[in-house]
Amino acid sequence: MTSISNTQKQPVLKLINVCKRFGGVVAANEISFELYAGEIFGLIGPNGSGKTTLINLITGIYSVDSGSIVLDGKNIVRMPIHNRARVGIVRTFQHPRLLGRCDIRANISLGKDLADKRKIPDTDKYQERMGVLLEAAGLTNVDLSDSIEKLSYGQQKMLEIVRALLSKPKVLLLDEPAAGLNRKEMSYIINLIDFAVKEDICVLLIEHAMDLVMSICQRLTVLNFGQQIASGIPSEIQENPAVIKAYLGGSRNAEN
């Protein structure tokens, strides 16, 4: 993965002073960062620091109290959820959310439906693309007419990312993709993230597995109690005393 000179490029997604409180709890306080095409941006912080809230603000599940979320120069804070998906913001969940009463093919085809809605021109190459994605996800041996329950937990997480990538999004928000996965499955996740980067999709990665975050993210930002306590490249973050105090706790894998 090559490093990008951010100064020459326009950000794809930009958060400007985003604030959100739930009663007395400040879940996001003046959060600002930019995501560039083909970049992997890490979002880390202890449990309850507001990472998933940020994803919910970006996808539109929660509305922001103040601040802007700008996609390709357009403020999207008032856009309804399904339209944000249609302009190219997709996410996955910490615990995979798939349609349990439908087969695997139907679940994947939701991604194609979204691509059609997005009027992505080359969806005629859908089969080929799906094949590449399923291979990257290690799902080639899976019978697509099986029900979702036949898949392991890890395979379900992979399927969610495949579905998200099939829609050719601009922004992919990954909420703890590696949680609960074994080494082998972790390598599939990295394959899928590589695929996204090659397509110039920007990836926002929330993850507790520090070795993964530190090895693949170009930049990251650290949240604690809804505050951005540090931002920068992985080596800087690892040395940052505030981060070590709040999160890393001296260990590289504080949460596990």
């Binding site: 996808t59 599940i61 309804p80 959820i81 399904h82 339209n83 998906a85 249609r86 997709v90 996410r91 959310r97 798939l98 349609l99 349990g100 009463r101 439908c102 139907a106 085809s109 939701l110 991604g111 439906d113 979204l114 809605k117 997005r118 579905r163 829609s167």
Partner: protein, 289 residues
């Protein structure tokens, strides 16, 4: 004699099946039983009466227009009684539907009065089968039309894009919106389809049972029994359950007593709940996440 009962039982049974199907579609979409479903039957019947008897349109056209209008009623019903409460507890939605059922019932009394009315039959006359069984063509028409509608709904749900959207929304509204599905549109379509299905039943049954503004409650209760017997949340179960309720009603009415028709249905409901609480098609009790 038996054949005659069988045909009338199956024909009322398929209409209960239509009502039950409508209920199941809404239940699957929003996770709450619609306690105004029976009123959709009554209202659909009255709309058909208005078109057929007051505006003198042919019965076929009246049935089609009435059921399409019921689709619009379904959307209005969704927008006013469900949508504002979509994030509230289920019991709030149930009470709201009960309120809406009173509005529909008393609204119908205001518009059409409380004297029972009827509409034309789709087909007149009857035929004699197997020597002595007199079968009215209207019963046959009900069975054929309902079966066609059920088949079309099955195709719509399983084979079309709209059906996939509705199924996805029914399973996970939040996730559906994240893959670009507008939830309000999808749920609106579900309510429209549900009211359409149930409303056409009103127009079909009207020549046999007369329409009155309080018929919804009984019909709704029978459809509810059909759903429980067939298996909660299952579309096939709703159809089979509807048929069973219709047959029990017809044969019980003939061989035991017409007074105890409803009692027989409820006795069967209790038996099913005691020995097979998940119903015929319910593999497991489905809990909405």
């Amino acid at each position: 004699m038996n054949l005659q009962l069988l045909v009338s039982g199956v024909s009322t049974g398929v209409v209960y099946g239509l009502i039950a199907m409508g209920m199941v579609l809404i239940f699957r979409a929003v996770g709450v039983m619609n306690f105004a479903q029976g009123e959709f039957l009554m209202f659909g019947g009255y709309l058909c009466y208005t078109l057929n008897r007051l505006l003198h349109l042919p019965i076929g056209l009246s049935l089609i227009l009435a059921s399409l209008l019921m689709g619009a009623v379904g959307v209005i019903f969704m927008r006013t009684s469900y949508w504002p409460l979509r994030n509230a507890q289920a019991r709030a939605i149930i009470v709201s539907a009960m309120g809406a059922s009173i509005v529909l019932k008393e609204g119908a009394r205001l518009i059409w009065g409380s004297i029972p009315v009827t509409v034309e039959r789709v087909v007149n006359g009857s035929t004699t089968l197997a020597g002595s069984a007199v079968v009215q063509w209207q019963y046959v028409a009900i069975i054929v039309i309902s079966a066609m509608i059920m088949a079309l709904v099955y195709l719509l749900l399983e084979k079309t894009f709209i059906g996939h959207i509705m199924q996805a929304t029914a399973q996970d509204q939040y996730m559906a919106s994240l893959v670009g599905i507008p939830v309000i549109m999808s749920i609106g379509l579900t309510f429209a389809l549900s009211a359409f299905l149930t409303g056409i039943g009103g127009g079909l049954l009207a020549p046999l049972f007369f329409l009155n503004n309080t018929m919804g409650a009984t019909a709704g209760a029978k459809a509810f029994a059909a759903i429980v017997i067939g298996g909660f949340g299952s579309v096939q179960g709703a159809i089979i359950g509807g048929l069973i309720v219709g047959l029990v009603e017809a044969f019980g009415g003939a061989y035991i007593s017409t007074t105890y028709q409803l009692v027989l249905i409820y006795v069967m409901l209790v038996l099913v709940l005691m020995f097979r609480p998940q119903g015929i098609f319910g593999g497991k009790i489905q809990e909405k996440a």
